[in-house]
């Protein structure tokens, strides 16, 4: 029996090393070959390509991946089902709707008060709108999926799908209300794009995501108990309602931040926690931090591969398309697997 502390240290070191390797790989590849040595000694354009384009982009992908994987683990604990995921449950859709509403408000404000008004709506307010949208949709989906006090996973997934369709329909309508150039940007954002963002945006996003992940790590012992029946968790000393509210908030904040930074990137929160769970087991004290790290590495690699594979075409798909391409079949495989009778309640 190895101690929990020992396993945690090994996993954190392995995860951090994987993230570093992924970031290095992603920084190295692209249409323009660069040399790290030249870049670090200030030779242009290598220096600018590495430090102003590729490295920030890899960092952004890492932040978004960590947030989505962490949110996925939290939602799976809340729903007590391995198929829960921010995108599938409509939480990402809610975040996108929240962010879009703020952008629309900005457009209307600019129309009414002149270009200066846009300052009040760029960046942070869009992110807050996304977080609020994520929280509202999470509460809605889980609220509608509770039958006699127990969350019913199948219902939650259905409600999530319906809510996603509803949110994207609404966003389509809202897009008609903004100028065409902004509408195009909105569309590209919503597809799930790890774009070249400013250092300030990435830093703010990283801090926000780190805080919500820290909250999840802090509550990871209680997450284990939340996967039991409510009364069982309560009899083991968990204030179920309050703890659930904290986890809801953390999962929504992480999803909202991820969507604000890079739109709707799906299935990261499904694929990564599932693979990590197969290695480390279901203990959330290991699962939460390890999933966050490998989620970061996963999205960095997905983004790098998207860039690399489409190099001959001279274009690149949004990373959300890559994760959907991988995640869709994965979801179906998981669904078939968890539906097998001998698997019982264990996914």
């Amino acid at each position: 029996m190895t101690s929990l502390r020992g396993r945690l240290v090994v996993l954190l070191v392995a995860g951090a090393a994987t993230v570093l390797a992924a970031v290095a790989f992603s920084s190295a590849v692209g249409p323009q070959p660069i040399s790290f040595q030249a870049a670090f000694s200030g030779v242009e354009p290598d220096h600018a390509i590495l430090l102003e384009l590729r490295f920030p982009r890899a960092l952004l992908a890492a932040v978004v991946g960590a947030a989505l994987a962490g949110a996925g683990v939290a939602l799976q604990a809340l729903l007590r089902n391995a198929l829960a995921e921010p995108f599938v449950l409509g939480v990402s859709g809610g975040a996108a709707l929240g962010g879009t509403l703020v952008i629309l408000a900005a457009t209307l404000a600019v129309r009414a008060f002149g270009p200066g008004a846009a300052l009040f709506f760029e960046g942070a307010p869009v992110a807050l709108g996304a977080v609020a949208g994520a929280a509202a949709s999470a509460v809605l989906v889980f609220g509608l999926a509770r039958i006699q006090g127990h969350p019913v996973p199948e219902t939650a997934l259905l409600v999530g799908v319906v809510f996603n369709a509803f949110a994207s329909g609404l966003i389509t309508v809202l897009r008609l209300l903004v100028p065409p150039e902004q509408a195009a940007r909105l569309l590209y954002w919503l597809l799930g794009t790890v774009a070249y963002q400013g250092a300030g945006t990435i830093l703010a996003g990283a801090v926000g995501v780190a805080l919500t992940l820290a909250l999840l790590v802090l509550f990871s012992g209680r997450l284990n108990l939340l996967t039991l029946a409510d009364e069982e968790a309560a009899s083991l000393g968990v204030d179920v309602r309050r703890t659930r509210a904290v986890i809801f908030f953390a999962a929504s904040a992480a999803t909202g931040a991820a969507v604000a930074l890079s739109g709707m990137v799906g299935f990261v929160g499904l694929i990564v926690p599932h693979l990590v769970r197969r290695v480390v087991g279901p203990d959330h004290r290991l699962l939460v931090p390890t999933s966050a790290l490998f989620g970061a590495a996963f999205l960095v690699m997905a983004d790098a591969l998207a860039r690399l594979l489409f190099l001959p075409l001279g274009t690149e798909p949004p990373v959300g398309a890559v994760t959907a391409f991988l995640g869709g079949p994965f979801f179906l495989w998981l669904l078939r697997r968890s539906g097998r009778p001998q698997a019982g309640g264990f996914a």
Binding site: L236, G281, P282, G345
Partner: protein, 267 residues
Amino acid sequence: MSPSPALGWPEPIVDVRLVSFRYGGTPALEDVSLSARSGEFVGLVGPNGAGKSTLVRLLAGLLAPGRGRVRLAGLDPSSAPRRQVARLCALVPQEPRLTWPFTVREVVMMGRAPRQGFLALPGPLDHGAVEGALRACDLVHLADRRIDALSGGERRRVFFARALSQEPRVLLFDEPTAFLDLGHQVAAMRMAQAAARGGLCVLAVLHDLNLAAAACDRLVVMSRGRVVADGGPAEVLTAERVREVWEVPVWRGENARSGAPVVLPEL
């Protein structure tokens, strides 16, 4: 009234006075009073819907009484902080739910949660309590197995061990023998008896009257939300009372060796 500890009687650690409870508009308990002391093994018996499980949930603080008061070692379990209640009182649920296949040791370690901080990293005290509970429930050889790989009887022992690792003073069972074969039923009752002899106050909802009569120090008979009898098994389980409460004609005899009452339904 009740003798003081100085006279050699411990104060009752479980003290329920004139408690009533309704689910919405449906009355479940009416003026129920009950007390139990440390070291006692009390069986709660009665037909389905008599209010036994409701009483257990009130004792665990999962429900708050509509009228009357519930005290565990002087604490109101429905309003005290959950962690404090969980250090005092453990509940072995009827049908524990596990979404993910934790190992036996991980599940038993969950009993330490009310004594652990946020990250819940276990210390030597936690490991000691878990190993002790695994030994007491004969689970040492299964400790690293996944819980979904165990039989129903083994799984039941795991949740019993989890309750022991809580190091509670009151142990509540909701039908510890349901769905178990005879061997596992007897094993479950022996573990409950051992816990009581170790100084815990053990309350168990039981359906098998003969098992309850053989194992418990005291039986509390409930019917339609009320306590209709409370005392030693031989005194409480009369043929007349069983007929009246369960509405079944029975033959009542006695185990010649132990003196415990035996009731058999007459079909």
